[in-house]
């Protein structure tokens, strides 16, 4: 639910960032999905009730395509949302790296030791995002990791501590 109005911005940020531009990308992606569906053996398999296995998926993809086309043609087509106007490639990179780090934290915490990995992840994150001095970030990270560990342990979920061995 946005509730954030889709007000346009005045500056010229290029066609690609207008609603029409983004919708064109979305339409492209849905066409790729349609091609995937059309070439998948499973999608055409007929089931005992007469429906094909991919029928409802295809309905969803067509609906997405229709909405994307509607966005390219409706009265908001020339508008550009403030956030889309400002977003840069670096922002996307930050988002993807953050997600990759989250996954790395998960894998390492479960393979090595939650109480070793989580404080490093938290302290690193806090410091990168602006917590100073580093000591405060480390202290807060250790505190939070231990509190999370204890809370989960209390409700019967043992987070892995293969090295510390609690």
């Amino acid at each position: 639910m946005s509730g954030r109005g889709g007000a346009g911005v005045g500056e010229d940020v290029g066609w690609i960032r207008t609603n029409r531009g983004v919708a064109a990308w979305i339409a492209g992606a849905t066409i790729l999905l349609l091609i995937y569906l059309g070439t998948s053996e499973w999608a055409l398999r007929e089931l005992r009730d007469g429906f094909r296995l991919g029928f409802f998926t295809a309905v969803a993809v067509f609906a997405m395509l229709l909405c994307a086309v509607a966005m390219m043609l409706d009265r908001h087509r020339h508008e550009t949302d403030e956030d889309i106007a400002r977003v840069t490639r670096r922002d996307w990179l930050v988002a993807v790296v953050a997600l990759a780090l989250c996954y790395a934290c998960f894998e390492l915490a479960w393979r090595v030791d939650f109480l070793l990995v989580a404080p490093v992840f938290l302290a690193g994150g806090m410091w990168t995002l602006g917590v100073r001095p580093l000591r405060s970030a480390i202290l807060a990270a250790v505190l939070v990791a231990v509190v999370i560990y204890v809370l989960f342990r209390l409700i019967g979920i043992a987070l892995p501590t293969n090295v510390i061995g609690l």
Binding site: M1, S2, G3, R4, G5, N19, V22, A23, I26, W42, A43, R45, L47, R48, G50, F51, L53, G54, F56, T57, A60, V61, A63, M64, C67, A68, M71, D74, H76, D81, D83, I84, V87, D91, A95, A98, L99, C102, Y103, C105, F106, W110, A118, L122, G124, G125, M126, L129, G130, V131, R132, S136, A137, A141, I148, L151, F152, L154, I155, I157
Partner: protein, 513 residues
């Protein structure tokens, strides 16, 4: 029918120190579990079930029901404080709750969530106690055709939730439909739309989806914002000090009463949704929120309004009592939590079912009394948590973002100990971030994801039962025809509202120009 002796015995059992203590512990753990993203009421109740082996009947019931009630409310605490719904049923609370938090009205929002939850929960419990067998009979009238139309009716509320730009709202709904088709086909159980990934065979789960789109999406947005600002202030000291100060605007009785309409909608919708097997409290919350928005467009629900919080929270907590209706009336659990409570009852020697009132009246009365007084405990313990979280929500973003990200990862994993759920949650985090950037509303996605698969399942089941006869499958009973007419009326009404809004906007633009 009323057995005075058994009732008196139940009163003695429930109002013993032991039972009240376990009820309080249950609510305390429940609110805590609910407030942690990914940990659901079901997980909490399941983890505590073995503990009831060693407790008395009343104490065991107190622990589980207290935990259930606490967890359903607890989800709203982190939804309001960090825009991170602790449970999927609290996702609808994010829209208004977090906006109020950002305006410095976190305490007010949290108290509204608590009072709406407790009010609707209490009243729905009373309804359950008074008319459980009747409610159960109504629920039986809903077969595949009726359920199909009910889902369609609920999806029609999307118009109200799709925001200012209809095409974006509908795109979100279509995306939810697409994600909902991943996993087993409802009739053949054969996996579909899984991109040949075996671990997607039973589809996308609600918890990783909601945690990803709401929590991770919001945190990525904040992280990007912080990296962009490159602010390197010493932010820790002052803000942590602030945690120990008392303040913030509370909720007045007048404000609480002003949301009566939304609480009533939540109560009605929640009670109805709760007694139907398989729908659950998330559907209750979203439907109640959507109806409240549709009924009172002038209140501008969605812009940080108490009414929005009241509707969503009343809608989810009102399912708690009624979810036990099929269990008590027929011995059939209507939800995962009801199955666990049924198991706890069986372990204590009382098999749930129609003869329960006759065979184990003390247990039934104990259950009813616990359902009611659990709300009082929820009120007290919920307030403590609300104040602590209201303060935690004021922590600066650089501290909060990594913590919520870590909690989202643990929560997505703890849900089923499935590492692929973490992966899904992160992918949905990126999708959530894109949706935020491009102002695509999240509510239609969650609604169609929740409702389209059961709609398809019931449509196809109806067709299968009626050997492919569409008319018989769709208009099986007067109730089905009534619901179909309801769909037509609702569509007509919402298109009228939309046209009027559009005309008002055009005339405003003309005046401004």
């Amino acid at each position: 029918m009323f057995n005075v002796e058994a009732f008196q015995e139940a009163l003695v059992l429930v109002f013993s120190f032991n039972t009240l203590m376990w009820l309080a512990i249950g609510v305390f753990i429940g609110v805590g579990v609910g407030a942690m993203p990914g940990l659901t009421a079901t997980t909490g109740v399941a983890l505590m079930l073995p503990l009831t082996f060693t407790l008395s009947q009343a104490a065991g019931l107190g622990l589980l029901i207290g935990l259930y009630k606490g967890a359903i409310y607890g989800g709203s605490i982190s939804a309001i404080s960090f825009a991170t719904p602790g449970t999927s049923e609290a996702a609808a609370t994010v829209f208004d709750g977090h906006k109020m938090m950002q305006r410095g009205q976190g305490k007010k929002a949290l108290l509204m969530a608590l009072y709406a939850s407790v009010t609707a929960d209490f009243l729905s419990d009373v309804i359950t106690i008074m008319v459980a067998p009747m409610l159960a009979l109504i629920a039986l009238q809903f077969g595949p055709s009726e359920r199909f139309w009910l889902m369609v009716l609920a999806v029609c509320l999307l118009g109200a939730l799709s925001g200012a730009h209809l095409a974006k709202g509908m795109l979100s709904a279509a995306l939810g439909l697409y994600i909902g088709t991943m996993g087993p086909d409802p009739i053949s159980s054969v996996a579909r739309n899984t991109f040949d990934l075996w671990w997607l065979a039973d589809g996308v789960h609600l918890v990783p989806l909601v945690v990803g789109i709401f929590a991770m999406g919001a945190m990525l947005e904040k992280a990007v914002e912080l990296m962009r600002e490159s602010r390197r202030a010493q932010v820790l000291k002052d803000s942590v000090k602030g945690l120990f100060s008392v303040g913030g605007e509370g909720l007045t009785f007048r404000e609480y009463l002003s949301c009566w309409k939304e609480m009533a909608i939540g109560l009605g919708v929640g009670t109805f949704v709760g007694m139907l097997p398989g729908l659950g409290s998330t559907v209750g919350a979203f439907m109640s929120y959507g109806i409240a928005k549709q009924v009172s467009p002038e209140k501008r629900i969605g812009t940080g309004r108490l009414e929005g919080i009241a509707a969503a929270e009343a809608g989810n907590n009102a399912t708690v009592g009624p979810t036990l209706v099929p269990l008590l009336a027929f011995g059939i659990p209507g939800s995962a939590v009801a199955a666990l409570i049924g198991a706890a009852l069986m372990l204590q020697g009382a098999t749930p079912g129609p003869r329960m009132f006759e065979l184990y009246p003390t247990v039934v009365y104990s259950l009813f009394i616990i359902l009611l007084i659990g709300n009082i405990f929820n009120l007290g313990i919920g307030r403590i948590f609300a104040f602590v979280y209201a303060k935690l929500g004021e922590l600066p973003a650089p501290l909060l973002v990594p913590i919520v990200m870590l909690m989202a990862v643990i929560g997505a994993y703890a849900y089923a100990n499935n590492p692929y759920d973490v992966l899904m949650m992160l992918v949905f985090g990126l999708l959530g971030y894109f949706m935020r950037m491009f102002k695509i509303p999240e509510a239609p996605l969650v609604i169609t994801f929740l409702l389209a698969p059961p709609a398809e399942e019931n449509l196809r089941r109806g067709l299968l039962i009626n050997e492919g006869d569409w008319i018989a499958a769709l208009f099986h009973s007067p109730l089905a025809i009534g619901l179909a007419l309801g769909v037509v009326v609702l569509t007509w009404l919402s298109s009228r509202v939309r046209i009027m809004e559009r005309m008002q906007a055009v005339s405003r633009e003309a005046q401004d120009g």
